[in-house]
């Protein structure tokens, strides 16, 4: 059979056309039914909402070792944070460190001795301008509408860019499988797996149930949590009536955790005569 150019083009053109329709129809038919489209997602009714969640740490109310321990334990217990014996493998959501390490550059040699050695409660600052979010190549860590710097551990590939970017050391990498190191796993919350980075989430799963973060609840008022964008909130009143500092505010990440420091009045009363 011989075929001229014109016939060939006709056949080629019409078969391409039919194939396109076929593929298109197949694609439309293969889409899932309207099951999923009829359903929808919504927020829980109890959800506590905010524009920017923030926390005030009233360091004056942390007096005994027990005060620190109950806050840290409350968090680590409900979030299945493992306890490795080797400090190199440490995973932490909320922890303590000295003034020198918490506020580097602001320490000075002759500060009150009690301040030098006092532990400070540290946690993720949920920065308004978070560098960890900017560097994450998979958008596993992201900023929620309520200001929480959240992580989607399903997406974390363990590159640890966020750990390098975070100036506060708030992120921990799971160098080992954490499961065997969780003493009493909380069956209501997942653990993590080897090879992902984790940190504090401001207890977003508790906020969804209308509860305050676990550390705040355990702190007896030493930690105050609230919406910093709401002028009527308790946290704003505390910030307006107390002098507070933030960790490394000069870096411009706009941290959302504020610290009220203890001013040892007895030591400075001499110079404070007009107060």
């Amino acid at each position: 059979m011989s075929m001229d150019r014109r016939q060939f083009l006709k056949i080629a053109g019409s078969s391409t056309f039919l194939a396109t329709i076929g593929i298109g129809a197949g694609w439309i038919l293969s889409k899932p039914g309207d099951f999923l489209e009829a359903s929808q997602f919504s927020q829980t009714k109890e959800l506590l909402n905010a524009k920017q969640w923030a926390m005030v740490v009233d360091t004056r109310k942390f007096k005994t070792e027990e005060d620190y321990k109950k806050v840290v334990d409350a968090c680590h217990r409900i979030h299945n944070v493992p306890n490795f014996d080797n400090p190199k493998d440490e995973v932490k959501w909320i922890w303590t460190d000295t003034y020198k390490h918490a506020f580097p550059g602001q320490e000075n040699e002759f500060m009150p001795e009690q301040m030098k050695h006092k532990p400070f409660v540290l946690l993720c600052n949920h920065c308004e301008n978070p560098p960890c979010v900017r560097v994450c190549p998979t958008k596993a860590t992201f900023k929620r509408k309520d200001g929480i710097t959240m992580q989607d551990l399903h997406r974390c590939i363990g590159c640890r860019y966020c750990m390098a970017a975070c100036p506060f050391g708030a992120r921990s990498f799971n160098y080992r499988d954490p499961r065997p190191f969780i003493k009493e796993p909380n069956p209501e919350y997942p653990s993590r797996m080897i090879g992902v980075v984790e940190k504090c989430t401001f207890c977003e799963e508790r906020l969804a149930k209308g509860q305050m973060p676990a550390c705040v609840e355990a702190s007896n008022g030493a930690l105050v949590f609230g919406d910093i964008a709401d002028p009527k909130s308790e946290i704003r009143k505390i910030l307006e009536t107390n002098y507070t500092i933030r960790r490394k505010a000069e870096l411009g990440t706009r941290p959302s955790v504020y610290y009220i420091l203890e001013i040892p009045t007895s030591d400075i009363s001499g110079g404070d005569s007009n107060a």
Binding site: F35, Q43, M150, D152, A208
Partner: protein
């Protein structure tokens, strides 16, 4: 053809080797997986129904779980309204596994049969089961 015999023999050996799984399993029927639904929580349900119909869950539960995951974590929306307007709290550990507390008899039955290994349980904590 040079070395024809060797080549033919080689081809026959290769085909026999490559087709081993097929003729080895001819006539053997693996039991159809039947996930068990008789957990205490399900027994007490007035209407024994999952969040969507059985047929839908069979075919699309993986897609549904992905949608639940994205909604809960990325959008912070933790309530699922199903096609009948009923609301469910989105949580693998607290909602799915509350009813299906028999992971070995439910999830694993089909997943093992189909040789799929979803990595849910590297992080999510499975319900405690009696070792059988």
């Amino acid at each position: 053809m040079y070395n024809g015999g060797k080549i033919l023999l080689g081809i026959i050996v290769f085909v026999l080797f490559a087709a081993f799984p097929f003729y080895n399993n001819i006539g053997k029927v693996s039991a159809k997986p039947e996930p068990k639904l008789d957990t205490p929580v399900i027994q007490q349900l007035a209407e024994k129904k999952c969040v969507e119909s059985k047929e839908f869950m069979k075919a699309e539960h993986m897609q549904l779980l992905n949608d639940w995951r994205d909604s809960a974590i990325r959008e912070g929306k933790r309530i699922y309204v199903n096609s009948e307007g009923k609301e469910f709290r989105i949580s693998l550990q607290n909602t799915c596994m509350n009813c299906h507390s028999n992971k070995k008899e439910f999830c694993d039955k089909c997943h093992n049969y189909a040789a799929v290994k979803p990595y849910c349980w590297t992080c999510h904590i499975e319900p405690k089961e009696k070792k059988s």
